[in-house]
């Protein structure tokens, strides 16, 4: 938290927000790590806290008798959170600089919030792991780093905070860096870009401007690093997947025979003339036209929600998938997956759930719970009887109909699914399909 005494005018000029498009960053950690201070400081230094919000924080801090500004008041949105001074849910915090807009998905780092961390990180393009330099790598750090690896988040910043309390010791910094690098060497995910930054969020060292206290540190400041992350690079490119969400049939005079397949493109680009296979029917055709609103295009890029027509009159409906010839995903009625369990009622073998894979639904029966993976990198527990809330484990499922899947390591959106409890309709788990 920022003390009023250090609360001078921001070090950067007023931000020029860019509009349309944000880089989403996941953070996790407890208040003790200085996470609120870090986020508050980023908001303040980028002038992203508007006067009325700042006034509200000042007022509340005063009411509670604090002699500093409690920036957690800006992020903890629910009454229960403010009363208890804790963050229960994922909070979304917006800030921007002249170069880029950011959304921080902020979650508590404790074990009981594993599901929130997974939720927040699932849509993140980058992540910040906060470490208190005095304590070094602790259980929470392991868990957060584990989740970043499970989700295969490409850009991870290891923010070594409270460097002012260890006399900006390069030795301390290097020892933490070494520990994380050792963990990374044990991880199955190898393409991660790890960036280590020594910080003092409270005093602003290496946050938006280079610190004189760390002459041994040659890297970037945190904000500079985040501003220069290229979101295009962060999205992994793979084989193209086009799951059909809905079929558009206007039945008007102008578009009498129009049959457009509406969906979002994942993994790569599509263009007119591409030879495609419709799955699961295995029918072949070619792309006739690509529509976006009232215009037609020759080519549509990864991530675009478009409408596609085909040259042949084939039967396509919701849940079907268009892919390029010779790039077919696995068609299967059995899955091996890593599951993060999100419900109070544990996952058990022989139980039935609804699986939602992209825009496709099926019934799923758990055939085996093979292991529980310890999020502190201490190994696995084999053949457990069940998976409890916030536990992560390897599970085998049998499906009521074939799904068109990729391993999560090859295609995030086509390699993940959720489980829904048919009795409560609640989302109870998230799965990552094994290679």
């Amino acid at each position: 938290m920022i003390r009023t005494k250090t609360y001078k005018s921001p070090t950067t000029s007023p931000s020029k927000k860019v509009g349309l498009g944000h880089l989403k960053i996941a953070t996790a950690g407890s208040v003790d790590d200085g996470k609120s201070t870090l986020i508050g400081r980023l908001l303040y230094d980028t002038k992203s806290l508007t006067d009325d919000k700042l006034e509200a924080i000042e007022e509340k801090s005063r009411q509670r008798g604090f002699d500093y500004l409690d920036f957690s008041l800006a992020t903890d949105g629910l009454v229960a959170e403010r009363e208890q001074g804790i963050t229960i849910d994922v909070a979304h915090i917006y800030f921007s600089t002249r170069k880029k807009s950011f959304i921080i998905a902020d979650t508590p780092g404790h074990i009981e919030y594993t599901r929130n961390m997974v939720t927040g990180a699932s849509t993140a393009q980058a992540s910040i792991v906060l470490i208190d330099a005095r304590n070094g790598v602790v259980e929470q750090t392991y868990r957060h780093f584990f989740i970043n690896n499970l989700l295969r988040i490409k850009d991870v910043v290891i923010a070594i905070n409270k460097m002012d309390l260890v006399d900006f010791s390069e030795e301390k910094y290097n020892s933490i860096k070494g520990e994380i690098e050792y963990l990374a060497s044990k991880s199955a995910y190898k393409n991660q870009n790890l960036t280590f930054i020594p910080l003092s969020a409270l005093q602003g060292d290496n946050l938006v401007s280079k610190s004189e206290n760390t002459p041994w540190y040659k890297g970037e400041t945190l904000l500079h690093h985040l501003e220069n992350l290229d979101a295009e690079d962060i999205n992994e490119v793979s084989q193209v997947r086009f799951p059909v969400q809905t079929v558009i049939r206007p039945k008007t005079d102008d578009y009498h025979d129009f049959r457009g397949y509406a969906g979002k493109i994942y993994g790569g680009d599509l263009e007119i003339g591409d030879e495609i296979v419709v799955l699961p029917s295995q029918t072949k055709s070619t792309i006739k036209s690509i529509h976006f609103f009232d215009k037609e295009f020759a080519r549509a890029k990864n991530g675009s929600s478009v409408t596609i027509t085909l040259n042949d009159n084939v039967n396509v409906s919701r849940g079907d998938m268009l892919v390029k010839v010779n790039e077919e995903p696995t068609i299967t009625k059995q899955l091996n997956a890593t599951i993060c369990w999100m419900d109070k009622e544990p996952l058990k073998a022989s139980q039935k759930y609804i699986i939602k894979h992209g825009v496709n639904d099926a019934q799923a029966k758990i055939t085996q719970v093979s292991s529980i993976i310890k999020t502190d990198f201490s190994g696995i527990e084999e053949n457990p009887s069940e998976l409890e809330l916030n536990q992560i484990g390897e599970v085998q499922l049998k499906l009521s109909k074939p799904l068109l899947v990729d391993p999560y390591s090859q295609n995030k959106s086509n390699g993940s699914f959720i489980l829904i409890n048919p009795k409560t309709n609640n989302t109870v788990g998230v799965g990552f399909i094994a290679p």
């Binding site: 403010r82 915090i93 008007t252 929600s305 992209g358």
Partner: protein, 301 residues
């Protein structure tokens, strides 16, 4: 043949994806339309999601009877031009039949009363998905809102028991009597909406642009003196000011801001440089620290 390549912006692509999921997962969706910039943006996104087919659900306006006349005129013109079905339900009817009580006093507003009318309409038509233009950057309780947000029979929001939303999979399964509020522009900021309106050249009501208006000052905010529903003490002095509105909620709780932004480009510039948040001029949020969260628990949109 067309040689162009399209890269749909991530936020726009996401919103279109959400609209298409609504149509696939629900039987009776409706788009809650206030005539404000966010719901106008939703209409454009819905057009894009289903083109060349028409928007496959009606628009519904819960009319407080205290809307800016410019907004109502705009609403009627837009729906007519696009050939959309518009359902209007009036808060006045609930006041007349005694299901809600009109507030009195200098801060009287019909904003809170909308909830009852909305819930009645949901029941009347059997809507199972109500699409709205709320954004997570607006207000801190809204920052916690899901894209598919489940409400019970009473329209209540159980904020502590929300479904996790992972990746872009949206779980729209509900029991009979429940409905889902859907927020396709959850992840947009105010500036994103304005930039989009500018880029897309979308027409919006004139009160969003700077104009000369008879106004008075109260609690540091600027209020319209032209509209009878805004309560004004005799001693509150009326002055002509160049103002615009940043939101177009109920007139009785929406204050103006001083502005010279007469066109969309200037509005975007002004938002970029603004040091007051969008809802800073909404007195309904200032009633208490948890004003929005309380209203949402009661079914407020």
């Amino acid at each position: 043949m067309n040689q162009r390549t399209i890269q749909v912006d991530a936020l726009e692509s996401e919103a279109i994806y959400i609209f298409r999921e609504v149509i696939a997962q629900f039987e009776k969706p409706v788009l809650l339309f206030s005539g404000g910039k966010d719901s106008i943006t939703l209409v454009r996104l819905a057009q894009k999601a289903f083109y060349p087919a028409k928007i496959p659900f009606p628009l519904m306006h819960i009319d407080t009877g205290h809307n800016f006349p410019e907004t109502i005129e705009f609403r009627d013109r837009l729906t007519k031009e696009l050939g959309l079905e518009l359902i209007i339900r009036n808060v006045q009817d609930n006041i007349d039949n005694g299901t809600v009580k009109e507030e009195t006093g200098r801060y009287a507003s019909r904003n809170m009363l909308q909830t009852e009318t909305l819930l009645d309409a949901i029941e009347e038509f059997g809507f199972d998905a109500c699409i709205g233009g709320a954004r997570r950057d607006e207000e801190k309780a809204r920052a916690k809102e899901r894209i598919f947000s489940v409400r019970d029979d009473f329209g209540q929001w159980d904020e502590k028991n929300q479904r996790p939303e992972v990746f872009d999979m949206l779980n729209g399964r509900i029991d009979l009597g429940q409905n889902v509020r859907v927020f396709p522009i959850s992840n947009w900021t105010e500036l994103d909406v304005w930039s989009y309106i500018k880029n897309e050249q979308i027409e919006i009501p004139s009160i969003y642009f700077a104009h000369k208006r008879k106004t008075f000052l109260r609690d540091g905010l600027i209020w319209s003196a032209e509209d009878a529903v805004v309560f004004r003490d005799k001693e509150e002095e009326v002055v002509d000011r160049m103002v615009r509105f940043r939101t177009v909620g109920d007139m009785s709780c929406t204050a103006a801001v001083l502005s010279h932004a007469v066109d969309i480009a200037k509005v975007v510039e002004e938002i970029r440089d603004s040091s007051i948040s969008e809802r800073g001029a909404r007195i309904d949020d200032k009633r208490s620290e948890a004003a929005m969260e309380k209203r949402k628990q009661q079914g407020y949109f």
